[in-house]
Symmetry: C2
Subunit: 462 residues, 2 copies
């Protein structure tokens, strides 16, 4: 409690100050919406006010927000959501019968047939069944149990919840969590918030941001000196690096997790965003089960998916799920209790997820339009991925790997020595952050999502 004596009377400061607030929260960094984004917003404002700059527009590429960038929603998804929101429309001839059928099924599963009721905390049961059926189709028939599916408020919610379960111990016994660098900063933010130990493993820019088990081993062995590494987080397709892991790589990772007794967290929210011709998405679950019972009955895993990416891009609905493999039943009971405290994920997001995992079928009236819209979105994303790579590689000082998947590229920008020197003496930015400095001072049209430098004197931005 900060107190100052004024005229002999003790004067109290605020109850809550930077000095006495939760120290873990202070340690959280979240560059996706950090100082560079704030500077970008300021530049936009300056442009609107008529201030002259060598460009006329700011394209915010700090986050995968498809609709904000002009991508149109898929008609079928929105029709069903409108029907669920205002069931009087079920009598309206404008809506196709399959959209009405989906809406009726969702409403029947809701308390009082209203999406305004709470659902079970784990999510609406028939939607979890549809998710399980979707996973089985995707993975060539490998069984999925709806009891192991937890719906969530976007994938972020599920990822943070799983990390929370896994964190314990103090000092050298504190849980360590391995994350890829470059990373999606949700991971480092959640680990700081939970007071867990972040263990960095580096993706190899020279091998198209590939993951190598030798590097995992190095990172793990170093971390064992000072913490208890228990979790390995993988993002595939990669965010923000855009690589797609080969089947061989996934097998290696699973073998490594088993040997080293690590809980696997597979962030697979970009599973339909694969553009490169020689690449294919392999789910960790499928590979795990195809490696035989020695692996499929032992390796503990959570896999995450979302309605925010792929062809839907419905970020605003905050829909998502996780599937749990080989989770200890007692821990699962604790998880069910934990998610119940927040009551339930938003029902519109749950409904949307149901449509994503149970889209129109060839014999249904919405199939043709749905397929056309879906294909068009994915084709546009593939085209943009290629264009981004090509254009970056024409700029002197910038090199960029092929974008195999996801929604990002992570080019290398070689800064002039003068800029680096200036950053070091500039007081408004933290020294030794020339990449951040560069973006804010030189007003790049691209905005950094990740400021972790891969090599000295270079930096990578999106």
């Amino acid at each position: 409690m900060s107190q100052q004596a004024v005229d002999g009377v003790p004067r109290r400061g605020k109850v809550l100050t930077l000095d006495n607030m939760n120290p873990n929260v202070k340690r959280v960094e979240y560059a996706v919406r950090g100082p560079i984004v704030q500077r970008a917003v300021q530049i936009e404002k300056e442009l609107r006010e008529g201030i002259k700059k060598p460009f006329t527009e700011v394209i915010k590429a700090n986050i995968g927000d498809a609709h904000a960038m002009g991508q149109k929603p898929i008609t079928f998804l929105r029709q069903v959501l409108a029907l669920c929101s205002y069931p009087e429309l079920l009598e309206d001839d404008k809506f196709p019968s399959d959209a009405k059928k989906r809406a009726r099924r969702i409403l029947e599963a809701c308390g009082g047939h209203s999406i305004g009721a709470y659902s079970a905390s784990q999510g609406i049961e028939c939607i979890r069944q549809d998710v399980a059926a979707f996973i089985e189709r995707r993975d060539g028939g490998i069984p999925s149990n709806p009891d192991n599916i937890f719906l969530s408020t976007g994938a972020s919610d599920a990822i943070v919840t799983m990390l929370k379960l896994l964190v314990c111990g103090e000092g050298r016994d504190r849980t360590g969590v391995m994350i890829s660098i470059p990373q999606y900063p949700l991971y480092s933010a959640a680990l700081a918030d939970l007071g867990a130990v972040q263990i960095n493993y580096y993706l190899d820019e020279d091998k198209c941001w590939g993951l190598d088990v030798t590097e995992l081993k190095r990172a793990l062995n170093e971390a064992r000196q000072h913490c208890d590494p228990r979790v390995l987080c993988i993002i595939n397709p990669g965010n923000p690096t855009g690589q797609v892991q080969s089947r061989k790589c996934i097998e290696d990772v699973i073998r490594f997790a088993k040997e080293e007794h690590l809980f696997l967290m597979a962030d697979e929210v970009y599973q339909e965003n694969v553009y490169a011709e020689n690449c294919k998405f392999h789910s960790f679950k499928k590979v795990l089960f195809e490696m035989g019972p020695e692996f499929s009955s032992t390796v503990e895993m959570a896999s995450f998916h979302s309605t925010s990416k792929c062809y839907m891009g419905e970020c605003g609905f905050r829909g998502g799920y996780m599937e749990l493999i080989n989770l200890d039943p007692e821990v699962k009971a604790q998880l069910i209790k934990l998610v119940s405290v927040r009551l339930c994920p938003p029902i519109p997001g749950q409904a949307l997820l149901d449509l994503v995992v149970n889209p129109p079928q060839p014999n249904e009236p919405s199939y043709t339009t749905f397929t056309k819209e879906r294909t068009a979105v994915l084709a546009t994303l593939a085209e943009k991925a290629q264009l981004t790579e090509q254009i970056f590689n024409t700029v002197p000082g910038i090199t960029c790997n092929p974008v195999q998947g996801a929604m990002y590229t992570f080019p290398r920008i070689t800064l002039p020595q003068k800029a680096i020197d200036e950053a070091k003496v500039c007081s408004i930015y933290t020294p030794h952050q020339p990449d951040l400095f560069d973006c804010t001072k030189y007003e790049f049209v691209c905005v950094c999502v990740n400021r972790k430098r891969v090599r000295s004197q270079t930096c990578s931005t999106v």
Copy 2:
């Protein structure tokens, strides 16, 4: 890491077990969806299977879930949500012009004019402006700044976020948080999860569950022996006790918070659920400002509201907000960073909140229907409140206070000595929980939401 040697080969157990998971999560209790609810679900199943019982229906009263209990959604709210979900309907003559106007305004404030885009993490700006205007109207013109409004995923989300900011210290310096008993178990669950110290203050059943500052002082002084009390949580109207605080009581609480240097958290999600004729809702903010600058410029406070209760009952949308008063600007910057990690609250919930704070006006076409529906819902809730109280008081062994507000009653049930004795020796329940035992064994139609006993040999359930 649990290891057993089998045939000389060390055999590893699960990576994640009850023994090595996050101990704070294990400490979390959440009775609203705990063992009694599970038993109720089982009884429902048994009834469906034709098992004979002395009743034919289970009424789940464990949670305020209006739509699940048959309350119909308000037409205007759902019309606007349908328009936002599927903007093609903006051309449809079936929808009134004011619904379209609201939908257009919300869509224009969304990235790419789609509710599928992320919003600012603090919430859509024009909605925060509408919330501030709503608060100003409610509080007779006392200014509200949209920059101090944070939209949230239901009120629970905002409450947990604020508690997270406030928790720090170890041992005797650990943050203590004062909560009312009987309580809404979100509070105890969140405090266990955050490892904060729960400080119980007891509401007075004999004074219609009133709050007395003498009891606050007792609880605070006792707690100061073993922790650092920094936060006072108030629920008004009361959950689960249904009392409505007088203006005098609120003034006393504010004075106490100032004197004792406590951060005030005012859970006001039932602010429109006031039924008793001699009761009125007074917002903590209004009373604070009417007490003069000595209080209004110093007492730090967060006030919470939600779309889940009142006349809307739209729990499934997970909409809500908090307003912050006198928060340290540096702490606010940390809060903005923290909420950004979860990207944004669901947009349908934000849109719904906008309609709640900006409902149809007398000159608008939806006004009459809206007002009729709203009045009817509130009248029905008032009638049910009275009925519940009356019926409980006719049952031998049950007494019940008047339900002044909110959506709950918290009757006292005097258990026969024989039942208490049986509970003590019954191995499947924790001993000394005869209230829980009673519910599960004797299959009461009412389900406990809160098992904290107020006096020995009696228990209070909803």
